[in-house]
C-alpha cells in the first residue's frame, strides 16, 4: 500500500492560495498579460499586426520562468531545512512519489497562472483589436503551458537536489539567468577560452548556434515562430519543432530525475 499521491498534489496546488502568495502574482500576471495588449491596441492594425501571440512572447519569456521558479524552488529544500519533511513523508509516500506529487501540484498551479494571464490578454485583445487568430492564440497558450511546466520541473528538481533553502534560492536565481541569457552565452565562453582567452572573431560557428537552441525559453520561441507568418527560427536542426519539443521535455524530466535520485540518496 502506498500513500495517496493526490494529497501531495493538492497540498502544493492549494498552498499559494492558503498562504495568499498567489494574489500579488496573479495581479502581476493580469497586468503584464493584459496591460501591453490594452495599451498598444495590439500593435498597428492591418497586415503588419503583430497579433496576440507575438505580444505574449516577450511576457511569457521574461515572466513565466520567474513565477514558475519562485513557486517551485523551495518546495522540497524548504521543508528539508526546517525538518517538516519528516512530517510530509510520515504517510506512506515514497520520496520519489513525494517529489513527483510536488511537481504535479506546482505544474497545475503554473498552468493556472498561464491560463488566467492568457484569458485576460485574449479578452483585452478582443476588446481593443478584435477576435485574435484562434490557431495562433491556442497554439501560443499551449506553448506557454509547456514552457511553464518545463521550468516547474526544473525548479522542483533543483529543490529536491538541495538540502537548504539558501542553496535552493541561489540555484533558482542562477537557473533564471541561465534560461534568460547564460545558456546562449556558453558557446561564446567556450570559444573565448578556445581562442586563448581572446574575444572570438567571425560569425558564430554552426555548433554554437545549435547549442544555443537547447534551452526551453529558446525552444518556446522557436516553436512560436512556426506559428507566426514572418518570424524565422534559425535554419538548424536543433531549432526545428521536433528538437524544440524534445528540449522542453528534457528540461522537465532530466532535472526531476536528477533531483529525485539525489533526494532518494540523502539523509534528511
Amino acid at each position: 500500500m502506498s500513500g495517496r499521491l493526490r494529497a501531495v498534489v493538492e497540498r502544493d496546488l492549494r498552498d499559494p492560495f492558503r498562504s495568499r502568495a498567489v494574489w500579488p502574482v496573479l495581479l502581476l500576471f493580469v497586468v503584464f498579460f493584459g496591460g501591453p495588449v490594452a495599451l498598444t491596441g495590439g500593435g498597428r492594425p492591418g497586415a503588419q499586426a503583430p497579433g496576440l501571440l507575438n505580444q505574449m512572447q516577450i511576457v511569457v519569456f521574461l515572466f513565466l520562468p520567474l513565477a514558475a521558479l519562485q513557486f517551485g524552488y523551495d518546495r522540497v529544500a524548504g521543508p528539508r531545512e526546517t525538518g517538516e519533511i519528516r512530517l510530509l513523508l510520515a504517510p506512506p509516500h515514497s520520496r520519489r512519489a513525494f517529489v513527483l506529487g510536488t511537481f504535479l501540484g506546482r505544474a497545475a498551479f503554473t498552468a493556472l497562472l498561464v491560463t488566467v494571464g492568457y484569458l485576460v490578454a485574449t479578452v483585452a485583445y478582443a476588446a481593443v483589436v478584435g477576435v485574435p487568430d484562434p490557431v495562433r492564440t491556442v497554439g501560443g497558450y499551449l506553448l506557454a503551458l509547456a514552457l511553464g511546466v518545463a521550468v516547474t520541473g526544473l525548479a522542483v528538481g533543483l529543490s529536491a537536489s538541495m538540502s537548504t533553502r539558501g542553496r535552493a534560492t541561489i540555484t533558482a536565481a542562477a537557473a533564471y539567468l541561465t534560461l534568460l541569457t547564460f545558456w546562449e552565452s556558453i558557446p561564446t565562453a567556450v570559444r573565448f577560452v578556445g581562442n586563448g582567452l581572446r574575444a572570438p572573431t567571425g560569425p558564430q560557428p554552426e555548433w554554437a548556434v545549435a547549442f544555443a537552441q537547447t534551452v526551453p525559453t529558446r525552444a518556446y520561441r522557436n516553436l512560436a515562430a512556426n506559428l507566426l507568418p514572418n518570424a524565422a527560427p534559425p535554419d538548424i536542426v536543433t531549432a526545428g519543432p521536433p528538437a524544440a519539443v524534445l528540449v522542453l521535455v528534457a528540461w522537465t524530466v532530466v532535472p526531476l530525475a536528477v533531483g529525485i535520485a539525489r533526494f532518494e540518496r540523502a539523509d534528511l
Binding site: M1, S19, L87, A90, P91, S94, D267, L268
Partner: protein, 306 residues
Amino acid sequence: MPALQLDSVSKRFGGVRALDDVSFTVERGEVYGFLGPNGAGKSTTIDILLDYVRPSAGSVSVFGHDAQAEPTAVHARTGILPDATGLTGHLTARQHVRYAVDSKGSDENPLALLDRVGIALDADRTVGGFSKGMRQRLLLACALVGEPDLLILDEPSTGLDPNGARRMREIVREENERGATVFFSSHILEQVAAVCDRVGILSGGALVASDSLDGLRERVGSVGRLTVTLDTPSEAAVAAVRDLAGVSDVRVDGASVSASCPPDRKAAVVDAARRDGADVVDIRTEEASLEELFAAYTEGEEGEVA
C-alpha cells in the same frame, strides 16, 4: 515477528559516530521507552527506523519489512511524531491533519482527532501562532491518523504543560490497549516510568541497557533510600551514618536523616542513627528513583552498566 528489530546498527555522520552497534527488539503490543540524554542518538535511531537516514552498517526491520528496502510498507503501518519539525505556519491545524488523513487514505474526521488531543477549538487557526505545546498536540493528532499498528513518538512531551503531558500518557495507554505497539523517546524520566513496559537506555550512541524497569533496578544493584526520623536528632548521629561503609548521599531534613544504601546496610544505618540515644520515630524506604537509575547508566557511576 517482533514489531521492531535493530541488528548492529551503526551510523556515522562524516567523522562523528552517532550510533555504535545498536541492537534491540520491541515486541508487538509493548510500550517501549527509549531513554537517553540529549545527543545520545535517539533521534538518529528513529530516523533510521523510518528511513529518513540510512545506517552506515546494520539492518532494521519493522513488522518484518526491511526499513531501507520497503519504507512505504513501514510507514503504512506507523504513526509518526517527529522531533524538532517545522510546521508550515499559514496552514490551519485542520489542514495539517487533513494532509495526513488524505495521504493515508483514511476517512477520519480531522476535527475528531484534534478533539482527542484537546485542540479542537483551535482547528481553524493557522499554526503560526501556536505554542510549542499546541504544536506538539497537533503532531500527535497527525500521528494517530489511521489507527496505526505502531506509534513512533520522538520526544512527544516536549513543550507540553502537565495537563498536556497527562493527556499524552492517556493516549499512549489507549492506543496500547487498542493493540498498538508504542515506541517513544524521552529524556523526561517520569514519562517513561508512567507508561512503559520496557525501556532502552542510549548513551553516547550505544545501547547500555534494554530491560523492564524492575530489571534495571535489579541490575544496578543498589540503591534504595532509607529515611530514619528521630525524636532527638543530633550531629553525632548524622556523622555516624556518614561514616558507614556502603552508604552515600546522606541528607538531613529536620528530624530526619536519609541515606542511599544497599538493602544489607539498612540495619546498620538505623543503628548508627540511634547511637546518640535517640529513639526512632519512623522508618521509610524508597526504591531507587528512575533518575538515579538513569544517572547510574548514563554516567557509569555504578560501574556495573550492562
